[in-house]
Amino acid sequence: MRGAGASLAGALILFFARFITAVRGRWAGAAPSDEQRIYFANHASHGDFVLIWTVLPRRLRFTTRPVAGSDYWLKSGLRRFIGRDVFNAVLIDRDRESRTSDPVAQMTEALDAGSSLIVFPEGTRNTTDARLLPFKSGLFHLAQARPNVALVPAWIDNLNRVMPKGEFVPIPLICTVTFGAPLRLSEGETKQDFLARTEAALLALSPKATAS
């Protein structure tokens, strides 16, 4: 019963996401594929992983799990239902002081179970005028732990205008998700170099980067 409710809710969320954003996936650097991947994306709204999920081919949606903060997604029954049951999110505790399990360990566990992941290496929603916040080190530790899994950058465009922080009525605007070429941690690459390289790869996909 719960499963049927979750897939119905999933279908409704997909329909709503398409109605508001008419979202299109642009596979600029990588074709959709069954191989295991870590999609890393810019983070401006709680709807970000919904858009990535929407543009993935249907069969990949069931094996691709978003990584999200448990402080937000466990707060109410509805969020818990959407986060856990509908999207099967890997919920991590972002608070270093209080957490009982290591986020990187949780993510590698999900990878070892065969899932692909959607991660937001900025660590929090970007509400500044900067296009991208500096990446947290989690992506590096994840890449170190499972160096064989391809990292695919995914730039989500316009969703920050659809629903700016603090507003609760979405404005219908066309959004796109652009996927770049897969990356991997090079041998001996330092944390700083790796984070700078992944940041640059993601920024290069933003339409503003190509226009100017």
């Binding site: 008419a22 299109r24 009525v169 404005i171 219908p172 066309i174």
Partner: protein, 316 residues
């Protein structure tokens, strides 16, 4: 639902015949010129023909569905067009409520007024009430940067995407003596003339086009294509007078008005695209760009066609 009028059935059958012919030609061309999908012109043509099928089926269903079908279809077109238009504007955080009002209040109210056929209100609702109220909502947020540009963008988006577009279903409310129950054919006439004109301008332009008409706005448009397309589309319009309340001469005149407005409307929309640095308004339909790319000519001709017919032929 009543049976569709025999004239409507005839029109739809005729369009289906044209499409079957077009698909056949497209198929043969692909076999001969582009067996490995390498000929861009042929591939683009076939993309367009496929999109035509989708549009004709939707339009046909809407026309058969009468007032409900047409109002819903164009209401959705307005929504999708507005979504494309606002995407390209420079609106800011402070415009959030004004934009929400445009999508979720102004648009549905306008189509509701069309639905209940309240001419006195739907013909001024956007230019008077929406245009005065929306800047008030935006001003209330206190952000004055680019204020005039921002409100002008939203107003123009509403004017084009909602107000002008809504005059297509408004054609159903006209009351023309001796033409009762056939008003959907006015919509068919408008849309057929606009689309035929687009196709004929393209064909004439390919055949004899030399002199560019607006090299900055639309480099593929030529004087020869425009004149040839406009004249032949006018002739087609005159030939379609049997489905309208007009004489052949009147139908030809109205077709010419539709064609001219459609052409210049297309140029205006191209100018906006150039200004915003995009090639298409959206990517909804393969080979056709976005909704606005398909609607632009209809949008500019619909309100004028509506008012000419209302003034000259309608009792209300």
């Amino acid at each position: 639902m009543t049976m569709p009028h025999p004239d409507l059935v005839a029109v739809l059958a005729g369009i289906l015949g044209v499409l079957v012919l077009a698909s056949t030609i497209g198929f043969v061309l692909q076999r001969k010129l582009s067996p490995d999908s390498s000929n861009a012109v042929v591939e683009n043509l076939n993309d367009r023909i496929r999109a035509w099928w989708v549009m004709v089926v939707l339009m046909g269903l809407a026309l058969i569905g009468g007032k409900t079908g047409v109002t819903l279809l164009f209401g959705f077109c307005s929504f999708a067009a507005l979504r494309e238009f606002i995407t390209l504007t420079d609106t800011r955080r402070a415009d959030h409520w004004a934009l929400a009002a445009a999508f979720f209040v102004v648009l549905p109210v306008q189509y509701y007024l069309i639905w209940i056929e309240w001419y006195g209100l739907y013909s001024i609702f956007i230019p008077v009430y929406a245009f005065l109220l929306m800047p008030i909502i935006a001003a209330a947020r206190g952000d004055t940067e680019h204020f005039l540009v921002r409100i002008a963008e939203v107003q123009w988006a509403l004017m084009i995407c909602v107000f002008a577009t809504s005059h297509v279903p408004a054609l159903l409310s006209l009351d023309i003596a001796g033409y009762e129950g056939r008003n959907v054919l006015l919509i068919a006439f408008l849309v057929i003339v606009v689309q035929i004109s687009d196709v004929l301008q393209y064909v004439w332009g390919k055949l004899i086009g030399r002199t560019k008409i607006a090299p900055k706005l639309s480099p593929s448009k030529t004087v020869e294509g425009f004149v040839g397309g406009a004249l032949s589309a006018t002739a087609v319009g005159a030939g379609l007078s049997w489905m309208t309340p007009f004489t052949p001469l009147q139908a030809g005149f109205l077709a010419l008005v539709i064609v001219l407005l459609g052409f210049f409307g297309g140029l205006v929309m191209s100018a906006i695209k150039r200004d915003r640095g995009v090639k298409d308004w959206g990517n909804l339909i393969a080979g056709h760009g976005g909704f606005i790319d398909r609607l632009d000519s209809v949008v500019f001709s619909a309100p004028i066609f509506f008012h000419l017919v209302r003034y000259g032929w309608s009792a209300v």
